[in-house]
Amino acid sequence: MSGPVATAEKAYVLLRLGERQFAVPAELVEELAAAGRLERIPHTTPQVEGVIVRRKRVLAVRDVARMLTGRALPLHRFYLVVRQPYGDATESEAIPVTGDCELLTGMVALPRGERDPDYVAGWIDLSSEQVLVLDLTKLIAEAPGAPAETAEHRA
């Protein structure tokens, strides 16, 4: 039986949600934007806070902090704008972050453990801690109230 195999070298963006750090593949990140005016529209989708206008685009703001850390971010300083796949298409979305994002290059992620939730894509070993690499598509699929349609996107 072979042991876990590390993935190839990639770049990751390290983001902070409250006291915890997470990583997402840098190829999915468009920009780090200063927090602008959050527009709340009536809706029934869990995890989505509202929308922001950014570069003449309307982006959904998805608060993943509550799901990952158990509490919403009372204050955030930036939005990390990421490309989120929806089937064959992608759409940009904004994730509120506390700040202090970093770009890590040449990193080799360790594979996810068997008991890790589906949204864990792997782990990055930093000197101070192991940082969870997020699979944003699966994270959204596991959000409360996510329809089966989302799971189909994962296939």
Binding site: I41, T45, E93, A146
Partner: protein
């Protein structure tokens, strides 16, 4: 018809003739609807004698029906439907070609718009039916209501099944 853009990132191709929209307010929130979808606007006071009580338990945002031009309209309290703060609506917007009338607080203005942003795909709930998309007025994002999506065909069928006989005759087949 105001066309939604192909995505949240792209405007509709080509220039379209600006179409009039009515911007109104519900519990302090601005919303809009294509003016062509509105048949009539009346004050709630002026309709006091015309509304019939109808309170289906599954639809707490409906408390009355009103007949207009031979068609029964379910009066939808948008503030309750959208879980906004309680207010006292002063106006009723009767919709053209839809079986509902909307209770709103006030008309803010008439405006014109050529296109709306498609609702971001992150939104997956009832809002996909409620809105045609999102309009941008001077950096203010305003949901553009879909007159035919406030009540889905399934909801209309459920409501029709619960109507008392005295009202059922005015529901279109």
């Amino acid at each position: 018809m105001i066309a939604p853009a192909a995505s949240t990132e792209a405007r509709a191709t080509g220039r379209r003739e600006p179409r009039p929209v009515i911007v109104f307010e519900v519990a302090g929130r601005a919303m809009a609807i294509p003016a062509g979808e509105v048949l009539e606007i009346r004050s709630t006071d002026s309709l006091a004698g015309e509304a019939a009580a109808f309170e289906p338990l599954e639809f707490p945002w409906i408390r009355h029906t009103i007949e207009r031009e031979g068609t029964l309209h379910y009066v939808v309290n948008l503030g309750v439907l959208f879980s906004l703060a309680r207010t006292r609506p002063t106006l009723v917007l009767f919709l053209r070609g839809a079986q509902c009338a909307l209770l709103v607080d006030r008309i803010e203005r008439m405006d014109a718009i050529s296109w709306v942003f498609a609702l971001p795909r992150a939104f997956r709930g009832s809002e996909r039916s409620w809105y045609l998309g999102l309009a941008l007025f001077d950096d203010e994002v305003v949901p553009m209501l879909n007159a035919r999506g406030i009540l889905t065909p399934e909801q209309q069928a459920q409501l029709a099944a619960r109507l008392p006989e005295t009202l059922a005759g005015t529901v279109p087949a």
